[in-house]
Structures are given as structure tokens and as C-alpha cells.
């Protein structure tokens, strides 16, 4: 290999990719804020932002311009350096993890003057990419804690404390859920996990129903979204850890939150929903689905998760802090441990074992759901018609 080729492979293409990824992620996070507001509006029988640009699509540009030109207020008694550092600490890991997200398979393209180049729809493929991902996302917590502490505001401090406790607690079930996917694929590389779902002839959501559920719930908690948005619960803590931030520093917190949503959704897609693979990747009859390229499949799946995020936000109240911790430690962690053992046993049986586990899990879930809803329909709850005085309710205090 001559020098120009190695420069190309090891420097130029990664550099281009890195720049593209950063720009794309920042834009995507911005667009996501618009999409969220719009979708929430639809859930809430209103219209949402629809003034800037066609259907309001440029609203996020207006927001960014506004935030950039806004005065950057720093409280007088804040720790200035840490106050300045905190958004950076949050943003850098939030963007860095995009290096390992596998958006699509390898492909070859022809660039005039350089010839054929084989590259992939991801910045890099590490053999420990999942480990890297878990490690890097955790660093973001420091930014939140430090931002809350350095603001010299009690609300921000409480928000930072809540955030620290919450993120650390939910790392655990999330880690276990990820480990179960690793056991199924026998690899730590996201690209290989996606490929393993092709070789196993199924998406890992089949045996990983519980794992996926755990991963997603923990993910919602990790990204501070309703119903787990305690660190920034606006009705309690005003704005939580970023109460004292304004202007573009606030925007960085905000955008990173959305970038993290994309990360969580993207990892969930890669681990459990076959990444860029089409549904039933081995059924030849569905080959016409290959018209849609892998990247689009991936984006489509991620969008679905993002929609669920927004849907959650439009539906649920918020947990209380102690309830949140109880849910994490007393419910999710025991379930995730049990699930891990089950998956490990099934993985011993290889492909066949995983398939049996999947069929059992899904059969039990759907069966129980049908039976209970049927029973419920037969006996409607008294809640709807009778006044509260006649409602019998067990005292749960």
C-alpha cells in the first residue's frame, strides 16, 4: 500500500467522516427538537411550531440563532471555570459515541481521481465498541453533576444530585441488558452483533424481549426523559441542573439530551432490532424489501424509538425520586439478573436455545395479555361510572 492510500484510509476518510458525523448529529438533534414539539402537539390536539419555514421545519434554526445571540448569564457566585466546563463535559461524550454506531453496512464508491474506495456507514468499528459506548456515556454524568454544583443554586444542586443517583443506578440494568445481547451475539462489536442477527436468522428482540424492555426503560432514565426526568423536573426544580444556564451553554445541554436519545435508540436498534437489516433477513420472499437501503432501515427503526420517547412524554406523569430508585434497584436489577441467567442458559444451546427462549417469552407475554384483557373486558372497572364514595379501594398508604 502506498502512502497516499494509507493517508486516505487512516486519516482523510475518518476525518471526513468525523466532521460529517458531528454536523449530522448536531443537525439531527436540532431537527429532533422540532419533531418532538410537533409530535407532542399532534398528541395534544394542537399544532405546534408552524411558522418558521414550511410547516415550521426551520424552527430549530431560529431557536439556535436565538440561543446563540442570547446573553450568557453566569451567576455571580458560581464556580466560573467549572460552570464553563460542564456543558463541554456533557457534549463531548454525547458526540463521541456516534463514532461507533453502525448506521449501515460496508459499501464501495468511486471517487474521481482516487479510484474505488471501500468504506462503511460508520465512523469506526471497534471490537470493544459496546464497552466504549458504556464507558463514554457515563462520563457525561460528570458534566451534569458539576454543572449543578457549580451554579451555586440549590435547585441546580438537587438536580445534579438526583441525576448522579439516577444515572448510576440505571447504568446497572442497562449494562446487564447489553450483556445479554453480547451473550447472544458472542461479540462486543456493534457491527458484529448486527451481522450475528443475520447469521442467527432472527432479530435479537425474539429471545431478548425482556432485555430490550430493560434496555429501553433504562435508556429513558439515562436520557432524563419523562417519566424519569427528575433531574430537570420543571415543576419541582424549575429546570434542574441547568437552571442557571442560559444562551448557548443551555443549548448544549439541551442538544446533548436529544443526541443521547438518538444514541440510545440507535444502540437499541443495533442490539435488538437487527440494525440495518431488513425484517426477516433470511427469508428470500421478502427480498423486495432490499430496495430500501440498509441505512434507511436503520434510520426508520431509530425514528420509531424516538417516536416512542415522545409518546411517553405526552402520556406519563413523573416518578418521585425515591420511587425511581426503588424501581431501579428493587425491580429492574433483579429482573435483569434473572433475565441474564436465562439468556446465558439459552445461549449455551446456541441458535436453537435462543429460538426456544424467544418463542416461550413471546408466547407467555401474548397469551397472558390476551387472557387478562379478555377478563377485563368482561368486568369493566367501577371507576368510570360510580362516584368516589362507592369505589372500594384497598388502602395502600
Amino acid at each position: 500500500m502506498d502512502i497516499s492510500a494509507s493517508v486516505l484510509t487512516y486519516f482523510l476518510i475518518p476525518a471526513v467522516k468525523a466532521v460529517v458525523v458531528v454536523i449530522l448529529v448536531a443537525t439531527a438533534a436540532g431537527v429532533l427538537t422540532y419533531i418532538e414539539r410537533r409530535t407532542l402537539a399532534f398528541l395534544q390536539v394542537r399544532k405546534g411550531p408552524n411558522r418558521v419555514g414550511p410547516e415550521g421545519i426551520l424552527q430549530f434554526v431560529a431557536d439556535v440563532v436565538k440561543l446563540l445571540t442570547k446573553e450568557d448569564v453566569v451567576p455571580a457566585k458560581a464556580q466560573h471555570f467549572i460552570h464553563f466546563l460542564a456543558p463541554v463535559l456533557v457534549m463531548v461524550p454525547g458526540l463521541a459515541v456516534f463514532a461507533v454506531l453502525p448506521w449501515g453496512p460496508e459499501f464501495t464508491m468511486r471517487i474521481p481521481g482516487l479510484g474505488k474506495i471501500t468504506t462503511a456507514w460508520y465512523a469506526t468499528d471497534l471490537n470493544v465498541s459496546l464497552l466504549l459506548l458504556l464507558a463514554i456515556t457515563t462520563v457525561g454524568i460528570y458534566g451534569i453533576i458539576l454543572g449543578g454544583w457549580a451554579s451555586n443554586s440549590k435547585y441546580a444542586l438537587i438536580g445534579g444530585l438526583r441525576s448522579a443517583a439516577q444515572l448510576i443506578s440505571y447504568e446497572v440494568p442497562m449494562g446487564f441488558a447489553v450483556v445479554s445481547a453480547i451473550l447472544m451475539a458472542r461479540s462486543l462489536s456493534l457491527v458484529e452483533i448486527v451481522e450475528a442477527q443475520r447469521t442467527h436468522h432472527m432479530w435479537f428482540i425474539l429471545p431478548g424481549l425482556v432485555s430490550f424492555f430493560l434496555y429501553f426503560v433504562s435508556g429513558v432514565a439515562e436520557t432524563n426523559r419523562i417519566p424519569f426526568d427528575l433531574p430537570e423536573a420543571e415543576s419541582e426544580l424549575v429546570a434542574g441542573f441547568h437552571t442557571e444556564y442560559s444562551g448557548f451553554r443551555w443549548a448544549i445541554f439541551f442538544l446533548t439530551e436529544y443526541a443521547n436519545m438518538i444514541t440510545i435508540s440507535a444502540v437499541a436498534t443495533a442490539l435488538f432490532f437487527g440494525g440495518w437489516l431488513r425484517p426477516f433477513p433470511n427469508v428470500a420472499a421478502l427480498a423486495f424489501l432490499d430496495v430500501i437501503p440498509g441505512v434507511l432501515w436503520y434510520v426508520l427503526k431509530v425514528s420509531c424509538f424516538l417516536f416512542v420517547y415522545i409518546w411517553f412524554r405526552g402520556t406519563f406523569p413523573r416518578y418521585r425520586f425515591d420511587q425511581l430508585m426503588a424501581l431501579g434497584w428493587k425491580t429492574l436489577i433483579p429482573i435483569s439478573l434473572t433475565n441474564l441467567v436465562l439468556v446465558a442458559l439459552a445461549a449455551l444451546g446456541g441458535f436453537r436455545g435462543l429460538r426456544i427462549l424467544g418463542i416461550v417469552l413471546w408466547g407467555a407475554a401474548i397469551g397472558a395479555f390476551l387472557i387478562v384483557t379478555r377478563l377485563r373486558a368482561a368486568k369493566p372497572p367501577a371507576a368510570k361510572t360510580a362516584p368516589a364514595s362507592v369505589r372500594a379501594r384497598a388502602a395502600e398508604a
Partner: protein
Amino acid sequence: MSETVGTAGSVPETRDTMLGLREMELNFGPQHPSTHGVLRIVLKVDGERIVSARPDIGYLHRGTEKLFETETYPMVIPHTDRLDYVAAATNNHAYCLTVEKLLGLEIPKRAQYIRIVLDEMQRISSHLLWLATAAIDLGAITPFFYTFREREVILDLFEDYCGARLTLNCMRVGGLQEDLTPGWLEKLRAFTEDLGSKIDEYEDLLTENRIWKMRTVGVGILTTERCIAWGVTGPPLRAAGLAWDVRRALPYECYPELDFEIPTGKNADTYDRYLVRIAELRQSRRILLQCCDWLAANPTGEIRGKVPRVIKPPAGDAYASVESPKGELGFYLVSNGGNKPYRLRVRPPSFINLQALPEMARGHMVSDLVAIIGTIDIVLGEVDR
């Protein structure tokens, strides 16, 4: 306000802090997203657990009672709109009842029914606003928009009837100023019949939801005895299990002729208060339907009693109260025989219910405080007057 001794509401301060660490003092309000106005609460917290809560009110004090003394009797009515500004009709009603009582006036039947219609519409709109804000306090943002959708219809109806949407000024001493507009009753009936399914929607979102239940069940318990000791009336008292409602206990207007229930709760917690208010929405709907029937059957009639041109009640005093959405709203009128009230005192349910807040909040967490403020359903215009 300077840090003087004592806690609000004579609640003894407990100091069982962890490891002997100092409590943190947290200033909750007056500008805070969930204090529903300009309420300030000085909290002492141990971690997130509330050791003591001391409400500090008066940021919206406008001297309304002083102002009453300078106005003639008809001119007081617009000022009463601004007490509990989300339930102006019941304020007007309580004031008019008091003056009528001292005058010994009789109100025409039709006016009584229209007043009840306005009251119950106001109760529904106030409870809807409460539901919206209480849900948003606990993080559920969507019920806000659903309830405002229905509240908007009520406000439109108010606008059709009296020309204003919020500060109605819709009642007069001796009856009403305006009769219903043609077609108004049909609009009201259509809305009322539709309301039942809308309430089901709110219940679908909240009643069974596990997070909603976790946040509200067992939070802010105030038993019947404590309610009475603190003078708490309205939904909090009924949620504690006492079926006491001014509409039944001290009946006014035509309420004895109407068929409705007084919903009560069992556990006196935030969840029961929520259930009671939801049930009251349904009961108000029932009352509205009955009133619609009566008004449709009696489409004409006097709407104002024999009121003297200049209202000069005899010297003496009288007190009359109505069941406002927040509790017992009363006016105490002292007349010296002149054309202006000598003294007009408001018994503000929000003010008196708020007094129980320190007791309800103690030992709970900061997040629960938000739920508790929401569940008392205060309006600062009435608290501070």
C-alpha cells in the same frame, strides 16, 4: 420577609436530621413553576425530605376588602370577580346572596336556575383547570390540553351569555342582568352531554396509571378531624370522608330541588381528592342537565326580583356562603344603612385551606409538596385578596 421565629401554622418543628447534619433551607417561590401564582414557601429540607414548610403569602394583596367599603353595592360585583379569578360566577353569587339576605329579597325561580347553571359551569371549568395544573405539576403535560379544550367551550358559553370569559360580572343583587340568549341552552346541553366521554378520557390517562397512583396515593393525608380543626372545606374535606357540601348543608337557591350526590373519598390523600374532583365534574354535569330541562320547560320568566333603585340594606349584619369550587366561600356584610357596605369580609376558602399545607407536607419529599400544593387547589387572588 425577615427570618423571625416560629413556623407557620404552629406546626412544631422536628429536627431528626440524618447524622446531625444541618437542614438546607430552600426558597420555594414566589416565582416558581408550580406555586400557582406568587406563593412562597420557605422549606427546611433534610436531603429531599421536608422538615418544615412555612407558607409566606401576601404577594398579591390588593386590599380588596378596603376597596369594597368605598363602592356602592352594585359596584362591588366586578371586584368580587377578581378574588378567585378562575371561578368568578361563584364569587358574584356569594356576594349577591349576602346582600339579598340582608335586604330580605326573593329571587325569581328562573334567575335561581340560571345562577345554578352558571355556578356549575364555573365549577366544571375550575375543576378542569385544577386537573390540568395538578397533572402538569406531576409531569403529565397532555391532560392540560385536553381539559383546556373543554374549558374553552365553557368560556365561550360564558362569553355568549354575559360578554366576558373570565371576569364575568354576571350576577346582580336580586337576580341577573341578562336573560339567556336564544340557542344558548342547546349549546350548553350539547356540551354537557359530550362532557361525560371527555371525563372518561382524563380518567383513562390518569386514574389507573401506576405512576399517577404512586405519586398521589398516601400523599398529603389530612383526616376529617384535622380538616375540621384547620377549617378546611371543599374537596379536601370530602376526600377525608365527610359528605359536607354547602349546597346540601346550608342550601341556597334551588339546590334542594336538584338531584345530585356528594362524592366522598376514604383515605384523605391526594389521590382521593383527585377522585372526588373528578366525581364532582360528573355530578355538576348531572345538575346542568337537570337545569337545562327545567329552563327548557320554562323558557320565559322574570330574572330580577323587586330590587329598589338604590340598594340600601338595613343596618345589621349577615353572612351567606356558597360552595365554590375551592370550598365554602362566604361573605360577611356589615351594613350601617348606607348605600355602601360598612364592612365586607370574604371568607376565602383558598386562604383557609392553604393553612393546612405545613401539616400535609411535613415528612414528605419536595416532589410531593408540588402535588400537595396542587391538590389544595389554591388561587392566590383569593388567598391574598
